[in-house]
Symmetry: C2
Subunit: 112 residues, 2 copies
DNA sequence: ATAATATGCAACCTTTTGGTTGTACAAATA
DNA sequence: TATTTGTACAACCAAAAGGTTGCATATTAT
């Protein structure tokens, strides 16, 4: 199934899994231990993350390690950055207006 | 209902709504026109976006305008940025390794 | 006053999501 | 060899998500 990375990171459990394996790969059981749901439930989350490329599985004996492919978050980063620019631009604009008002106030005060 | 912004942006229709009103507020019907689902369906999406603060509604006569509060995406930005740093750091590391290899190769070539 | 417009919302339906238990099997260990 | 360990996956379930139609209501236009 082709999965959407936005949908994949919508679930808090899946974001927690990403956090766990962000620096170092872990096998399925180790990931599971952190949560109070069944291994199958966690496995399903891992599967969803795999389907959108955020995780790759690597077999090692009878264990399978989950490795994070953080660069797959690029789409999310790009999406949110375009809007960050917009809301920052608005804050800057507001700053300028406030500064202007302050300057005018000073002038008015001096005239008095 | 308290809503999660990650879950709110998971749906492509909702991301499209955000895009539509990012620069200028629009009333509910105008937003609806863009989609081929019912007004009620779009309204539900708007409601979800409102519940997590990404949209505020402003009454104007019989119309209601949806205004985007883009700064509510800060949580998403912060979350993704921490990982962006990590994957960029890894790419930088890879670059260094490759550069090193190239330098060594040159030296080897010179010796030949 | 009547008709048209813009919206909110209840009631209902289908699909998806997130969870469970139980079974199967390969790899490691006693 | 027998047992334990690590994992995959089928089958099932309740709740949530995303959609619909239909009706109520307030505002605007004729």
């Amino acid at each position: 199934m082709r999965r959407d990375v936005f949908q994949a990171i919508a679930d808090p459990t899946r974001r927690e899994i990403i956090q766990m394996i962000a620096t170092t790969p872990l096998n399925v059981n180790t990931v599971t231990e952190r949560f109070d749901v069944s291994r199958t439930a966690v496995y399903k989350h891992i599967k969803i993350l795999t389907e959108c490329g955020l995780i790759v599985m690597r077999q090692k004996g009878r264990e399978r390690f989950c490795e994070a492919k953080l660069e797959k978050l690029q789409a999310v980063s790009d999406w949110v950055e375009q809007y960050k620019k917009m809301w920052n631009a608005r804050f800057d604009l507001l700053d300028n207006v406030l500064e202007d008002l302050q300057t005018k106030n000073k002038k008015h005060g001096n005239k008095k």
